[in-house]
Amino acid sequence: MAYTEEELKKELETKEYEYGFYTDIESDTFPKGLNEEVVIALSKKKEEPEWMTLWRLEAFKIWKEMTEPEWANIHYQKPDFQDISYYSAPNKKPKYESLDEVDPELLDTFKRLGISLDEQKKLAGVAVDIVMDSVSVATTFKKTLAEKGIIFCSISEAIKEHPELVKKYIGSVVPKKDNFYAALNSAVFSDGSFCYIPKGVRCPMELSTYFRINQAGTGQFERTLVIADKGSYVSYLEGCTAPSRDENQLHAAVVELIALDDAEIKYSTVQNWFPGNKEGKGGVYNFVTKRGLCERNAKISWTQVETGSAITWKYPSCILKGDNSIGEFYSIAVTNNFQQADTGTKMVHLGKNTKSTIISKGISAGKSQNSYRGLVQVNSRADNARNFSQCDSLLMGNECGAHTFPYIEAKNKSAQIEHEATTSKIGEDQIFYCNQRGIDTEKAIALIVNGFSKEVLNKLPMEFAVEAQKLLEISLEGSVG
């Protein structure tokens, strides 16, 4: 690869470690710590073939030699990787007997997001004794997919059932040695999704809208692999607008997308991990490596709404390898209280006539820090490459910060690159105008923020967009006095 993560180095201070890991030890949980034996045992536990075990071991070897990157504009106490348990059998026992036992604040949020009662129970870990409608929905769903030859299953299942595909593509876009967290994930990934769309097939539904519940609890080292074969199309939804109160502090996921000739992948994410409390305690550290490879005439479009996590470190990227390929990145990142986000994208133009679009909207409130970091790289053979980038920041209150670090590298004279960035605040006159029309300040802010984010919200599938809109509102509550 023409660039390395290390190239983006940035200095960083560390601050007091404020969070203690706590894992409720079930019978089937590994002791804390990471070494070769743990990797082997993990692979064995998951009944993986030997090649997978070896692959993991190689990744582990690489990871041991690497150091945690420090270039991002985030400050945190580095996790102790020997203080984490790397295998925990999925918890089959419900945590609660009824919804009454669940934190009412959490339930209130569910309600406001418009999440159904059954889903609420599932998400909160309440035992569901009635057969959910969705089970039958799931069956029909799977049948429809199977008819088209679409494979959609957990990555563990795919390793066993479709080894030829997994073997060929896993690590092909995000190599094991790509970065510290990707190497760690490669060694110890818990589970995740696998999706293959055969040649010329247009996936008839948004993948994983229904599965969002089932996907919860795939663990802290999630691995996703999506392959769109020639001329196929898929829209994939990841994450959940509901707040995820995961007790694992560190999340290091890897997502690899492969769009072969003429294929298109639309990948939408809503991330709402626990951001820590108002004093900045706790919260998830989210270190994600997401990257897609576009072959000839292919298109990959990333859309993300990031409202959660104490730390977000995430750069969904596109390698525009094939001629005429297209990469898109639409992002809304909201930080409040003490959250820190360093997020953006990389568009690497290798093929001729490649195009990329970046629309990034950062909203900072409270005492949070929100950084956009992006790279647009046009290589010498990428004739007629085009890029348009727009990074807008909205500041609420004067205790937060907005930062932009756009790197633009062009080595071809026919490149056309445009980058625009603005920073603004919500004007008092805008609020008064809304007030005068009978809209209170809180609602006015939500309205203005939604307007600011509209270009990105519009890219989300309809039902997701509505939830995301509500989510923005909830995330920014109480941010302006």
């Binding site: 004007g427 006159d429 805008q430 008064f432 105008y433 809304c434 007030n435 005068q436 029309r437 009978g438 809209i439 209170d440 300040t441 609602k443 309205l447 203005i448 939604n450 307007g451 600011f452 984010s453 509209k454 270009e455």
Partner: protein, 250 residues
Amino acid sequence: MLKIKDLHARVEDKEILKGINLEVKPGEVHAIMGPNGSGKSTLASVIAGKEDFEITKGTILFEGEELDEVAPEERAHKGIFLSFQYPVEIPGVSVTNFMKTAINESRKAHGKEDMPASKMLKLIREKSELLDIDRKFLSRSLNEGFSGGEKKRNEIFQMAMLEPKLAILDETDSGLDIDALRIVANGVNKLKSKDNAVILITHYQRLLEYIIPDFVHVIHDGKIVKSGTKELALELEEKGYDWLKKEPVV
């Protein structure tokens, strides 16, 4: 409906209103005229509840209720509408979406359910026709890239949608060409009834040819220095404001 007694208001350390007295009854149209900087727009903002202004003395009663502690959005819910002299841009928020939010917030304040979408659409269609507004215009971002005339027409459209009891039009005529002025005035006239009242704040007599006021007040240096009927407006047009300024301020 509106009773203002000895109103004094200041912004930062500068006193702008120095004892305004005004009573507006249902069905009336009042015009407030005066030179630049006399306090016309301040009076409008103070009635609407803009926080930059501090009331130092006097009271504003709306339907018998003291407004001083009432938040701007609650005043709106009570039926006070201000057509802004400089309407504010809100990027990404369409006129329709904005109106939908405003109407439903008001309904919520009165304990009513959201307006059904079909009824909302009907209302929008009706009012936009009244003001000769192109429907495409309604999907554009609020005031963003609007011409001066479009902004003012949009204000009156919002007034029509919200059906206020008291409408304050702050220099709605400025920047309007004669055709736009006629449309706006026409809209205001159609919305006028025996139950609502209008305060027109203007610098020129021109608007008053189209919307006939029952009373004309001249404001100067934070006080109403002269009140009369529509003939006063003509007199002002002819003589300017200087003759009023020369009169000793009591």
